[in-house]
């Protein structure tokens, strides 16, 4: 067991963890932040994406001890304290970018990171950036559209809703 201190969604947390506890397990089981999901065991699906020191990271690919001292942001911290959704979250709702919602936290965290680095991505850049995030429900159409809309680009001409 090792004691780690990190910031999660702006709050400092100190806990003892085992060396082999994954960051995603630590978030889900120790902190009960269950918005971060586990969809695979080969780092392929992106359901677990969080931000570590401002970068999007698959939380199943790092140990909790590796996050010692880091700033971690999860889906639970994305909306404003009064509940106002972030631009990406709001666009996902507006454009029906989610169905079952299981991939959604990872999608939102990935998209948020993309737009931070590339505020006006092309459709191809969005699709490319989502390479590591699988959604089985939406066929990606409305996810891509939502991300384009969240970046402030006009999506009214995109075929169908």
């Amino acid at each position: 067991m090792a004691e780690i201190t990190l910031t999660v969604n702006g709050r400092s947390v100190t806990k003892s963890v085992k060396g082999n506890t994954l960051l995603v397990e630590f978030l889900r089981e120790d902190l009960r932040l269950t918005g971060t999901h586990v969809g695979c065991d080969t780092s392929q699906c992106g359901a677990c994406v969080v931000h570590v020191n401002g970068k999007d990271v698959k939380a199943c690919t790092m140990f909790a001890v590796e996050a010692d001292g880091a700033e971690v942001a999860t889906i639970e911290g994305e909306a404003a304290p009064d509940g106002t959704l972030s631009a990406v979250q709001a666009a996902f709702q507006e454009h029906h970018g989610l169905q079952c919602g299981f991939c959604t936290p990872g999608m939102v965290m990935t998209a948020t990171a993309l737009l931070r680095d590339n505020p006006k991505p092309t459709e191809a850049e969005v699709r490319d950036y989502l390479e590591g995030n699988i959604c089985r429900c939406t066929g990606y159409h409305n996810i891509v559209k939502a991300i384009m809309a969240a970046s402030g680009q006009d999506v009214t001409s995109i075929a169908a809703e």
């Binding site: 999901h37 969809g39 979250q89 709702q93 959604t104 089985r136 429900c137 075929a159 169908a160 809703e161």
Partner: protein
């Protein structure tokens, strides 16, 4: 002007905020005080005799609470199959036992041998490694045709062979033979419908929680149909009466059919929790999901079409081998038969149609319904065949289809179903307007200038949804009714909870169902909430699959709401001192026709619960009604799809450039959600046609056991889709006139894509009859260079 509320509007989904903020409540998010964890030790061989399972060393390991093996389940029932198919000789299908934990033999990679329950998952896993299993490996039965050869190894020793049933259906032999004997042209096609894994992004989870105080078991599970699980597990496996068993399916992260079925792990955690008197939780890993979730498709077919000299379809005959896997999953037997054979007429007025299906046991994971379930298999065969016929005859594939369309409704097919409505020319017209066929030659030339081959493929589909009339499916062998149920509970202040048997795991029922109830009552949608997923709260409904939620459960909800309106009118008549016949309900106001006298919805509901001034001698207080709805027929959505692709002849790589879907879903309550359903189905169909393949080697080893080897469609594999649902022929027999939209995209898309690739290759001078899915670069390259 699009509507902003009620039927036909697209309000934002109310479930979204919780999912977007991490506040969803999926089964794995639930922990119960005192919870233990189970790890299943699964077979790593496809077929073998279990000589011994020694748990001695493992039992003493840290944290172990109890280890279970097949022996612990000897007095317990096996997992049942919910549909008995009768074969062509009038014999019942073979139904081998399916124990919760393997007994005597293992029959597929992943078959659970033992289960370790421990204080932590890590301890359970560690202890499982210390279990000593002695298995004598047997030859694996993998290929369906060799499985049926005399002398083949048997998957189940107590059966005479590996044939589950040999089923024949449709027109009589003489009529079919005559059509082929007199044909001017016969087109034949051999194909495989590739084995798929549904892969909802949420892996399955089951948490059993026994409460000794009232002898009640609760199962939290990732299910599309909690009442079905309660019935199957309670009555057939564990012998628990319904009133002592509660099944909760909270937020569920996608289903696509694979979460319909009753699985061993559900029965295990419920059973084990009672044995150790503590909660037991199982969370599937993705690797486990590949070897324990029921798979889909896996049909091998020869199909033949007879045409007369004018290119009219005169006869159709199919011969299919359908893989059941090692055990019969809950609805496995119905998929290649009643959900497949009944759709073989497609959109065409072929007078003689005969379907032959041999269902085969193999040493692979059980195969059952996956999005579309039987209908994608039917559509793929037929629409590939029609395309091949058009090429052989040198006629336009759309014209050939149009010439043979059914145009008069209702239409009784030679395969037992009666299509109530449809307009196949209209959806094809719409499709043609969406795809700019005239400009295709120029687009093809532009691709050619870059060394690429461009192709355009189309297909039609018809499906049977809204499953299903109980008396009909009962005759066909279903061991359950397929009605659904809704309870509308109006509260004193006028807010409403609607308890429904349907389950929402992405479909947005919490948004859509209130649109209907609120419109009927003329009140704000925000006053109506849907309750689903908990057998202790909802009436006995059959759940969500087969695009049935709105057509069947929605109809029950409409009926219950009508009962509410009838009773509320009686109360309003009393309050208004008028005759009930004169009461009108509009915009949430009850008024006396021809007067300005009215009472508001809230006044009536309050009177129902505070009945001071109330017709107590005539009606009971309260305002709560339940309806069960059993449909009179299936519903028949239909449509026409087109795909445009570019093939790189150097590498064989296929790029999907455009996909258009023109559907007739009958009336549409929420267009945004309907379109989302089509998008998702299209991606799954594109996945099947281009990427996905569940593969076993000849020893029964699962080669595609993770996302490294099983290629899921990703954002850069698919284009923006064009979808249209403006052609509406309402269903004639349900109150909303709805047909269902959940499966269409997955049913209609694979043939269009494959047809497009073959169009690209054949137009470039190749002569390729067919390429089996998925059209991976290597397969396409081999076909080009073969």
């Amino acid at each position: 002007m699009p509507k902003d509320h009620g039927i036909g509007a697209s309000p934002k989904r109310r479930e979204d905020v919780r999912f977007l903020t991490g506040a969803g409540n999926y089964t794995d998010d639930i922990n119960v005080y005192g919870q233990t964890y189970v790890h299943f030790l699964r077979s790593d061989v496809a077929h073998g005799t279990i000589n011994s399972v020694d748990t001695g060393a493992a039992a003493g390991m840290p944290g172990v609470v109890r280890i279970f093996t097949g022996a612990d389940f000897e007095g317990v029932g096996g997992l049942p199959c919910g549909w008995q198919v009768t074969d062509k000789h009038g014999e019942a299908m073979k139904e081998p036992g399916h124990p919760v934990l393997a007994q005597g033999k293992v029959r597929h990679v992943g078959d659970p041998i033992a289960a370790v329950v421990a204080e932590s998952l890590e301890e359970a896993r560690n202890a499982a490694e210390a279990i000593e299993v002695d298995i004598t490996e047997l030859p694996a039965v993998v290929d369906m045709k060799s499985a049926l050869e005399a002398g083949s190894t048997k998957v189940h020793d107590d059966l005479s062979d590996n044939l589950c049933y040999d089923w024949q259906f449709g027109s009589d032999q003489a009529a079919v033979d005559e059509a082929f004997a007199n044909a001017a042209h016969v087109t034949t096609l051999d194909l495989r419908n590739n084995r798929l894994v549904a892969n909802p992004m949420e892996p399955r989870v089951a948490l059993g929680d026994y409460n000794r105080a009232n002898d009640e078991s609760t199962l939290y599970t990732t299910s599309q149909n909690p009442h079905v699980i309660r019935l199957l597990m309670g009555a057939f496996v564990l012998g628990l009466p319904e009133h002592k068993l509660r099944v909760v399916a909270p937020d569920v992260g996608g289903g696509f059919g694979t979460k319909i079925f009753h699985y061993a792990e559900e029965a295990f955690v419920t059973f084990a929790s009672r044995q150790i008197n503590r909660p037991v939780k199982w969370t599937s890993t993705r690797s486990e999901a590949f070897m324990s979730d029921a798979h889909g498709r896996d049909h091998v077919t020869t199909i033949e079409l007879a045409l007369d000299a004018d290119n009219n379809f005169t006869g159709l005959r199919t011969d299919t081998h359908a893989n059941m896997g090692a055990y019969l999953s809950t609805f496995a037997s119905s998929v290649p038969t009643w959900l497949h054979g009944t759709l073989m007429a497609g959109n065409y007025k072929t007078p003689a149609v005969q379907v032959n299906v041999k269902a085969v046991f193999t040493n692979t994971v059980a195969v059952d319904a996956y999005r579309g379930a039987g209908r994608p298999e039917a559509t793929f065969q037929l629409e590939r065949l029609v395309d091949k016929a058009a090429r052989e005859l040198g006629v336009d594939p759309i014209a050939l289809r149009r010439q043979n369309f059914i145009t008069e409704f209702p239409y009784a097919t030679p395969v037992a179903v009666e299509y109530d409505t449809g307009n196949y020319h209209a959806t094809m017209d719409t499709l043609e307007s969406m795809i700019d066929r005239e400009g295709f030659a120029a687009r093809r030339a532009e691709s050619a200038s870059r060394g690429k081959l461009r192709g355009l493929g189309v297909n039609c589909y018809i499906e049977a949804c809204g499953i299903a009339p109980s008396n009909l499916v009962g005759q066909l062998g279903a061991r359950a009714g397929l009605y659904d149920a809704a309870t509308v509970r109006v509260n004193a202040t006028g807010s409403i909870s609607v308890m429904v048997g349907a389950h929402s795991h992405g479909q947005g029922h919490e948004t859509v169902f209130p649109q209907v109830v609120a419109e009927m009552l003329g009140i704000d949608e925000g006053m109506v909430d849907i309750v689903h997923g908990d057998s202790s709260k909802i009436p006995f409904g059959m759940g969500t699959y087969g695009s049935r939620s709105l057509a069947v459960c929605g109809s029950a909800m409409v009926r219950a709401t009508e009962k509410i309106i009838n009773k509320a009118k009686k109360i309003a008549a009393h309050l208004l001192e008028a005759s009930e016949a004169d009461i009108e309900l509009k915009d949430g106001q009850f008024s006396v026709a021809g007067t300005d006298k009215s009472v508001a919805w809230g006044d009536v509901t309050l009177a129902a619960y505070v009945p001071h001034n109330y017709p107590l001698e005539d009606i009971e207080p309260g305002l709560e009604e339940t309806a069960f709805y059993d449909p009179a027929n299936f519903t028949y959505p239909s449509g026409a799809y087109a795909c445009e692709v570019e093939v790189d002849p150097e590498t064989g790589k296929v790029t999907v450039l455009d996909f258009a879907a023109a559907d007739d879903f009958g009336n549409v309550v929420n267009p945004m959600i309907v379109e989302g359903q089509v998008h998702g189905g299209l991606a799954q169909g594109i996945g099947q046609a281009l990427l996905e393949n569940c593969a076993y080697d000849e020893n029964g080893q699962l080669l595609s056991a993770s996302y490294m080897d099983y290629a899921m469609p990703r954002a850069d594999d698919v284009p923006y889709y064009k979808v249209d649902h403006s052609n509406v022929t309402p269903c004639t027999h349900n109150p909303l006139g709805v047909k269902g939209c959940g499966e269409a995209g997955a049913i209609g898309s694979p043939p269009a894509l494959v047809n497009a690739v073959l169009d690209a290759l054949n137009a470039a001078g190749h002569d390729i009859g067919h390429i089996d899915m998925p059209l991976s670069p290597s397969r396409v390259w081999s076909a080009i260079n073969g």
